[in-house]
Amino acid sequence: MTYSPHTDADRVAMLEAIGVESVDDLFADIPESVRASRFDLPPPLTEQEVRAELSRLAGLNRIPEVSFLGAGAYRRLIPAVVDEVVGRAEFATAYTPYQPEVSQGTLQSIYEFQSLVCELTGMEVASASHYDGATATAEGALMACRLTGRHRVAVSRAVHPQVRRVLETYCSGPGVEVVEVPADLSETGSGLTDLDAVRSLVGEDVACLVVQEPNFFGLLEPMSELAEAAHAAGALIVTLVDPVSLALLEAPGRYGADIVTAEGQSLGIPLAFGGPYLGLMAARMNAVRQLPGRLVGATRDAAGRRGYVLTLQAREQHIRREKAASNICTNQALCALAATAYLSAVGPEGLREAAERSTIQARHLVATLEMAGIAARRFTAPYFNEVALRLADAGPRHAALVEQGILAGLVVEPEYPELPDTLLLATTELTTDDDIRRLAAALGAAA
């Protein structure tokens, strides 16, 4: 099956117009010595065969009936209207809005997205999107290096392990050293970033402290103290946040965050085995010229009509080349559109309801498991909608439940060897009372 519209007669006519005998003549400039010797791909399929093949693969996945798995990607309600919006071909099949007169739809929606990110985070300027929360965080740390002229980054051990790995990979580029700040993961620990360690590790040579709120274990960090400690050393603070949590939690701009990043997957974007997701990044206006990624600004046409354009492009690779703030070009525009549609579909009340229901179900879950004597909280600090629990034989019991279609969150030990017998469980607005009952019953039986 091919999507080419040409008939053989078309092709003959076109070859004639060009003045060549065959299409091979158009490839005569490829030297013999480098021509492809093989192209061993499967034969073409018809639509019904492609459907069968993709259905086969989809059928090999098993979507658990009950899942408490989060750890950076969350099963949340995607309102039907969101998928309708991102399905509009006028958005989906447009390119980057390089011709603003015929791209006002995309441009205005990005302007609205930037506005929403600023409103959520309490910051002054937000970029048009990044690949995901981790790359946004890594680019945020590199931005902090440019802003401070320092070449060392401190990151809390309570930041998502994959985010830390991406941060290290990005920092290895320009040779920025990444220092890990310990978290209190001891037997009776808080589970929080060690504030004393921050004070001693974040010195005059450190560009920024990177922390996550709520942190990887779902715990609420002392953000004001962390920000103060970083600022006392002349360093910036880069905070990776959960956008849904910001319905209830303080806007990072109010506790002194300098650069705020987030994984926006929760805002109307399907799990889709890890992507495409959405990186959010926001900062103070005085840092805008070091902000990586596209920016949309409002302006006017000659008749005074409001319109939107890509702006401050002197930061970007297509203008500045080797002096650009980042190499980012293609971003996650359609995912930013999904987030914009999501946030306007739920509104302030809906986002608060979703966040609150998530936090209440988390407490419901903990209370149920603690009461039944199945598990106990691993850390003492207050939590949001995700919680680390200690229970005996966590690994085998987790595996046993998978067989029953129940996913008891994430086994933490492979990422944190110091935390054996620990599960990380997330609740969202989709978590039902019945889910919690079934998990408790299954965990109890698997003891």
């Binding site: 099956m1 192209f39 693969l57 989809a58 979507i63 580029g173 971003n331 492979p414």
Partner: protein, 548 residues
């Protein structure tokens, strides 16, 4: 910008908000209010169920959210009904040009048709609902799909191994450059090899990527035929060279016919040969970069393999690598851990599963030579599955046809516009052709930008302009293989007409566009006084009622 509501407006003719093409000679231009202007307190679309009494009671035994952590700022998200929301975005959508509306010959971007079948596949619950950390037994389908796609891309590019992790072309470049450095370090040459050579026709991402990895960039000039200046390249190569980054076919749409010598020179100098795969649509089945001797190439799934560009993303930029770079690929890779690869492939190509096959992600730290991880989880899976559907639909024969027809279309346009516009490199092109409007500029003061804006008035998207940088007043046209001959003919006629009008009535061309939702926008003002987000009226700010 004034925050107080600018209501939907129409032009002076007083007609209602209209989005259809206006009757000839009339202009109807519309401003869609922002979500914030549409917002009215108390309106909403989606509701969530309140927690049950039992849940609340149980939760009450647990510590609540501490007051100190709670939001103190109001959360002023838009408050709109669902219908208003739908209308807002549908009205905005109609202000966009898109492939599904009309021709989009934007050079370097491969704006081909994005098949609807791919969109159907992306919405299959078994794929869309797959959590990236689902244990292996639950995610065999996602892992097999990624493994199969990597196998297909490996064959298409002639490489030893593929990583699907990079989220975009520039991200693939970053990954490739990090691997380049890791390779040189592994041979004790990390400190010495600091220079990346880039042709003057390169995409801006190439030098920007090199900088992100701490390399310095040296530019290599093009020769009179639009290829790389081989002598200059040989002169620039040395013991300090880390890599050559080259786009082939080049951004001029020309296949580098000295590629054999280029690769030999790079290899002899001990450097890595990086190919920017943005123009892969031109050579499917005819040239395989890995087989030819390139060490690494990124694929743009959103160009060559038809995944929608989404108004700027998401894309996907998998990379293929030679055996000597394979150890450095980012982790984790999806692996076949049980079962014979040839059998698994053969079965999948006939639509069958292999009962004893098992797939898994590499565990953290399993491959110490890996450069690390370049994003969370396994990449833009939603793009992977669309590309997989596309490659399977086309098969080998279909993909060859894609390239043949793309190159046919570009040459068809080339021969028909050569009399109207200057063609700086007048030779057979690949998937795109670069003209220059320097004649129009010199003789009539009509620039490439003016011509682009005049094209907008014809209801199609203009070519890429002012790129590549080495062509004055560049018009870079990439028709792709999915446009009919009638569409190409219409485009050719429009381009001739604009060339005529540039001579006859240049002022009118400079006044375009006239039929678009807005006229030319004041970009200088946008940069001088940045308005990058909605400014809430002060009353809102001080009203400080915390929502909820």
């Amino acid at each position: 910008m004034s925050a107080v509501g600018e209501r939907p407006t129409t032009d002076a003719s007083g007609r209602g908000a209209a989005f259809h093409s206006p009757p000839a000679g009339e202009v109807l231009r519309v401003v869609e209010p922002t979500l914030f202007e549409r917002s009215r307190p108390g309106r909403r679309a989606v509701r969530f169920p309140a927690p049950s009494e039992a849940a609340r009671k149980a939760a009450a035994s647990q510590p609540p959210l501490p007051d100190a952590a709670r939001r103190t700022a109001p959360l002023r998200l838009p408050e709109v009904s669902e219908l208003e929301l739908v209308r807002h975005f549908n009205r905005l959508s109609r202000l966009n040009h898109a492939i599904d509306i009309d021709f989009y010959p934007l050079g370097s971007c491969t704006m081909k048709y994005n098949p609807k079948l791919n969109e159907w596949a992306a919405r299959l619950p078994g794929l869309a609902g797959s959590h990236p950390l689902d244990p292996g037994p639950l995610s065999q389908g996602s892992l097999e799909l990624q493994w199969l796609l990597a196998e297909l891309l490996r064959e298409i590019g002639g490489f030893a191994a593929v990583s699907l992790q990079p989220a975009a072309g520039a991200h693939g470049e970053l990954t490739g450059m990090l691997m380049t450095r890791a390779f040189h370090r592994s041979r004790g040459e990390g400190d010495q090899r600091r220079v990346v050579l880039v042709p003057d026709s390169a995409h801006g991402t190439n030098p920007a990527t090199a900088s992100m990895v701490g390399f310095t960039t040296r530019t290599v000039p093009s020769n009179a035929r639009g290829g790389i200046d081989l002598d200059a390249l040989r002169g620039a190569l040395g013991p300090d060279t880390a890599a050559l980054m080259i786009t082939n076919p080049s951004t001029l749409g020309i296949f580098e016919d000295q590629i054999h010598d280029v690769l030999n020179a790079v290899q002899a100098a001990g450097a890595i040969a990086y190919m920017d795969g943005a123009n892969l649509n031109a050579v499917l089945g005819r040239f395989r970069a890995g087989e030819a001797g390139f060490d690494v190439m990124h694929f743009n799934l959103h160009k060559t393999f038809s995944t929608p560009h989404g108004g700027g993303g998401p894309g996907a930029g998998p990379i293929g690598v030679s055996p000597r770079l394979a150890p450095f690929l980012p982790a984790p890779l999806p692996l076949l851990i049980a079962g014979d690869p040839a059998t698994v492939r053969a079965n999948a190509w006939s639509g069958r599963s292999t009962p004893d096959a098992r797939f898994a992600l590499e565990p953290p730290g399993a491959r110490p030579t890996a450069i690390g991880q370049v994003r969370t989880f396994g990449g833009n899976f939603g793009m992977h599955l669309r590309a997989y559907a596309y490659i399977r639909a086309n098969g080998a024969a279909g993909l060859r046809q894609v390239t043949d027809d793309a190159v046919l279309a570009a040459n068809y346009v080339r021969v028909q516009l050569g009399d109207a516009y200057d063609l700086p490199f007048d030779r057979i092109c690949k998937h795109e052709v670069v003209f220059s409007a320097r004649r129009q500029k010199r003789e009539h003061d009509v620039s490439a930008l003016d011509i682009a804006k005049a094209i907008l008035d014809e209801g199609i998207h203009p070519p890429t302009i002012y790129f590549p940088l080495i062509v004055e007043e560049a018009l870079m046209i990439e028709p792709t293989e999915t446009e009919t001959r009638e569409t190409l003919d219409r485009f050719v006629a429009i381009m001739h007409d604009i060339a005529d009008r540039s001579a006859r009535d240049p002022e009118a061309v400079r006044q375009s566009p006239r039929t678009t939702p807005v006229g030319r926008l004041d970009e200088a003002a946008a940069a001088r006084q940045p308005d990058l987000g909605w400014a809430f009226p002060e009353a809102d700010r001080t009203g400080a009622t915390l929502s909820g």
